[in-house]
């Protein structure tokens, strides 16, 4: 069988696929720059861990509980902040991420600065695979429907979308809520695999990592987000031999990548569009760059 080391990387890659694809819904498809995705992950992680530890929930119920809590917070945070645009939204989501982290650092029930220990190890490879497939299935259904088109219209031109009769606030909040829901779902899997969670695990850098996966893979392309998630989980491990220099190499790879393919690995630019992409559905279509956000 697979060694525990490889198994851990594969499971982490699976969780990151959930994180990256759900963030892609918000950033890549709806065009709303969020850099607080890890906060929703932590909400899901803590809520599901508390559900299994203190409330005696079975695993699947705890996972869903964590996801729903994160999703609700997504909607609550989304309603005021999604009125902001671009950089302002990014800063607001960043601020939210820090607030969540600091609250968890100080609450009793979350174990404060000690972290939450003794979470039963219930996440298996099979669970992660099933969860990732479920996530992709739901996102695909959303994107290839009327809702998906509304989200892309908002990304492409919010004012035009509004004058088309799209209730932009509603759809932006929906996208944010669904993205947060799946982030919480991923967080639950994470908590029940590593058995120990600490607020700093879900800090700003984690959010940036998720964003890197999405941008590297290609904004607005779900296959790209998956590839980005796998690549950015594997690369630091492959570079482990380089010890403390590995983050340097990791950064260099990202920079070179953005120089060579700014639209991401699987993203396509507007110019190369047209006939080639005729048959590709929204699920695997790429946005041009981040210019709109």
């Amino acid at each position: 069988m697979i060694s525990t080391y490889y198994l851990q990387i594969i499971i982490l890659a699976g969780i990151n696929i959930i994180m990256a694809t759900s963030l892609n819904l918000i950033v890549g498809y709806t065009g709303q720059l969020s850099i607080g995705h890890a906060a929703f992950m932590s909400l899901g992680a803590y809520a599901s861990a508390i559900a299994t530890l203190h409330l005696g929930f079975p695993f699947i119920a705890a996972l869903l509980f964590g996801a729903v809590v994160a999703g609700l917070f997504g909607v609550l945070v989304g309603i005021p902040t999604l009125r902001l645009k671009g950089d302002y939204l990014a800063i607001a989501t960043l601020g939210f991420g820090e607030i969540v982290r600091i609250i968890f650092l100080n609450l009793q029930i979350t174990g404060g600065a000690v972290g939450l220990r003794g979470i039963p190890k219930q996440t298996t490879l099979l669970w992660v695979i099933a969860a990732a497939i479920f996530t992709l299935f739901v996102l695909r259904r959303i994107l290839n429907s009327r809702v998906g088109r509304a989200l892309i219209a908002i990304r492409e031109d919010e004012t035009a979308a509004e004058s088309m009769g799209i209730n932009t606030m509603y759809f932006k909040t929906l996208s944010f809520g669904v993205g947060a829901f799946f982030a919480g779902f991923g967080g639950g899997l994470f908590a029940h695999y590593f058995r120990y969670i600490h607020p700093n695990v879900f800090g700003f850098m984690r959010s940036i990592e998720h964003l890197c996966m999405v941008v590297l893979g290609g904004l607005g392309n779900m296959w790209g987000a998956m590839l980005g998630a796998v690549a950015l989980t594997a690369i630091p491990e492959l570079l482990r031999a380089g010890a403390e220099y590995r983050l340097l190499a990791y950064g260099a790879i990202l920079v070179l990548m953005m120089r060579a393919r700014p639209q991401g690995l699987l993203g396509e630019s507007e110019q190369t569009g047209g006939s080639i992409r005729r048959k590709i559905r929204i699920f695997s279509r790429g946005a041009d760059t981040l210019k709109k956000t």
Partner: protein, 234 residues
Amino acid sequence: MLTVEGISTYYGNIQALKEVELKVNEGEIVTLIGSNGAGKTTTLLTISGLLKPAQGKVTFLGRTITGVPPHNIVKMGISHVPEGRRIFPLMTLMENLEMGAFGRTDKRAIKEDLDMVFQTFPQLKGREKQMAGTLSGGEQQMLAMGRALMSRPKLLLLDEPSMGLAPMIVKEIFQIIEKINRQGTTILLVEQNAQMALKTAGKGYVLETGKIVLQDNASALLENDDVRKSYLGE
């Protein structure tokens, strides 16, 4: 049909409209002309609810629509073709048209309207799957108008449909505007190309630094000395 009563709209502290008054009757083509920055676009944005006026009110078919969110104004029957076309470049032509019918659920009527749009704009036919961003400027303008027609508007707001287009195509666009009007859609047309606009419209308003300074039949405005000097380059 549409009455705009004393609207004043601000961008922050800057007043863009000063008690603008105008009226559009059913079946008409009304044009609003004026130079850059006169407030033409602001007027349209205020009517379609994308901007909120500080004072005044807009009534449409007897109902006050000031303060109504834009997506509901679309449902009431006002469709806005924004300045600079603003199609969705990374969506196909067909998806763009479908976006126009976003608030509607009557599939059969939507299909009928699609046929109607392709009839009005035969150039768009056969290119349903092309990415809208790869269309030419004139085609994008036609797509933007077609997209707006997909909500089955009673009143169509057109913001500078001639912008950046070759004279030949401008002519064609204006012929299409007349055709859409003959098919029963009332039109409020904002233009810098005063000549073309006044020839097409029945009634005209002249906007200057946020104020309506002149209003008359379009043919009379074409003969008006001030208009000729300021807007027709004579």
